[in-house]
Symmetry: C2
Subunit: 425 residues, 2 copies
Amino acid sequence: MSTTTVLWTAPAVLGLAVLTQATNDPLAISTYLAVLTGLLTWRLIPAVADRFVAAGLSGKDVNKAHQPIIPESLGIIAATLYLICLFLFIPFPFRQWFPAEPAVLSLRTFPFQRLGEFLAALLCLQSMVFLGFADDVFDIRWRYKLVMPTVASIPLLMGYYLSDGITYVVLPIPLRPILGRILDIGILYYVYIAMLAIFCTNSINILAGINGVEAGQSLVIALSVAANDLLYVNGPDRPAAEVHLFSLYFILPFIAVTTALLWHNWYPARVFVGDTYCYFAGMTFAVVGIIGHFSKTLLLFFIPQIFNFIYSAPQLFRLVPCPRHRMPRLNPATGRLEPSDASLATATPTGLAVVRTLARFRLVRVATDDAGTPLRVSNLTLLNMLLVHCGPLPENHLAALVVALQVFGSVAAFTVRYQLVTFLY
Amino acid sequence: MSTTTVLWTAPAVLGLAVLTQATNDPLAISTYLAVLTGLLTWRLIPAVADRFVAAGLSGKDVNKAHQPIIPESLGIIAATLYLICLFLFIPFPFRQWFPAEPAVLSLRTFPFQRLGEFLAALLCLQSMVFLGFADDVFDIRWRYKLVMPTVASIPLLMGYYLSDGITYVVLPIPLRPILGRILDIGILYYVYIAMLAIFCTNSINILAGINGVEAGQSLVIALSVAANDLLYVNGPDRPAAEVHLFSLYFILPFIAVTTALLWHNWYPARVFVGDTYCYFAGMTFAVVGIIGHFSKTLLLFFIPQIFNFIYSAPQLFRLVPCPRHRMPRLNPATGRLEPSDASLATATPTGLAVVRTLARFRLVRVATDDAGTPLRVSNLTLLNMLLVHCGPLPENHLAALVVALQVFGSVAAFTVRYQLVTFLY
């Protein structure tokens, strides 16, 4: 690896040096660093995978006939290189304020708020990566998993409060006769932001379990965020352009490392991404949504995750028994995945009613005894639902279907955001 | 644990609520949070220790007769709770700028630079904790260990640059005829800061290996830093008072979690602290030294570590062979530790010359063959040197001796800093 390191490092640093002389545009430098980071991630993941197995970070790929042992939590490599990339990038958006002579730095006009927000965002992200990795190593309990994103988002809340602290929402037209056009929801806005962080970090984590699906859905969301940012960065609204530019600085390297990770994680997976990656991805989205001031648009990109969360709720809240693993199950005879299921023996009456309603809309498959009493229900995840609908599928087809759904969701999101919205606002 | 959590949380939150109403003094709130965090660390470490063993984080305590398996890396608990404590504390130093009505936040006078520096410091610390933990899990190679603190300190360098960016040093009197009273060393100052981070993080890590010694030495350094801060916080020099106050905000919770960790790590250790703790401790010192602008005074508190580093150099730079573990060895017959040693078979001529010189000053013990050719030398660490000097010691006596040396070093440091300094500056 040593010679390779030199072969890589020298031209990479030289390229950066040339680029920083040639341009003052932080976006060009961000793109350059993102591409480099992506390539490095792509190279490093297979190089270090064995050490993960040696450190006890590995798991059985249960949806393969021979159930190979695969290195787990390689998302930590993607996340760490992403963080290093952003650490190195910190000075660039602020270069125009650096004078030739440090002593006369124009402190009066320096955008300290912006820098504070940048650092706060990094702090949030790093906290979640750290928590995710701890979860991979220790299997942290659910209640702590829910609390931790809240603590992790404190710096971001503080940064948001200080950067502008806008806590009012523009209401849709139908509500205006009652509440007016603008409603200041005050502290509730911060509760909303904290909830957003919790939702984003956990929602990727529960739409998971087959090769490529975590990184695949995240890549589509990230590309959607970047496309949305690009609509603003050269626009006439300067404050909007600026915040979307900052969003791009965070999302471009994310796209790069996710692509690299997906390369190795797509069917048949050579590595697993781990909870680390899911938390890292979710928090990246929450952070860009918050600092870019487009959290509602962001939620539109999460349509499949929101659906999956609502659909999963009866199991998450234990109305229906929830087995530890709910991912689809391989039928070795056909080589296709089939829905996994859960016993209804200990389901609550509400749970049974929910299952019956879902069954009426063919959203679950229910196994009954001869008397028609429901015994088992397909587990309530989007992945199982797709299999109930489409019949058994090979693992890579199912993953591709989820990615396609995510793309479709994003197209719908753009339509709602930029076409239908005129009827509401 | 659940009931206990409630029993703890309710009065703790209540206490904080009462305190924040009663006082605006961030130092009071910092002290309160530090004590709580210390107690929580003290409780949590034994509660989670078994999970560390289950996750493969354990090590043999080789200096006990029966060599028990001890949970390793519990420093991660101390460091994580420390970080959570500081996350929760973020708003308090800035409370006076928060108006009753968020909309009229006095942004013009808000100390964004100070907040930026605070967040940058947290980012550095969290990076090192994360790296330390990764090192405990993966055993990272030395060269990466040296590079990582540099990357981790980028936010701090940026924060320093923007907070005042002072890069001149006041020269001691003997040098003034040649170079003047003040010398602006420019970019070299940032190199110095980065080196300080590398030195602090690694120097605790190489004065290690017996029960209680890592947390023990760190506690003495931390108390020295706090004592030094207290000399300024009520002083007439307002800028100095302010930076030392910020240093206290970082060092008080550190003292609390270190005390808790030391309780469980002192001889006979129930837990090991791990590289995580050593990096965390070292970076905390670097951070407070930098944001408190007392990096030279800080280095005076590191006298034993500097000595240990210089004394170790022949092995670290491979002039003398360096075995993987250099800690003292238990003599089961006496129950005392004796110096461990290394073969001189592959020592360089320079290495042999160094060993001969050290032997002349009785700083090492050399085993020779009948012809007087040196064969083995006691490993070049402060711990082994103390055993060469004082003869075999029980493990707890040796740890106590190091702590005593550290106290003696701090007393000397204060004498140099506040008495002898008048002859130099």
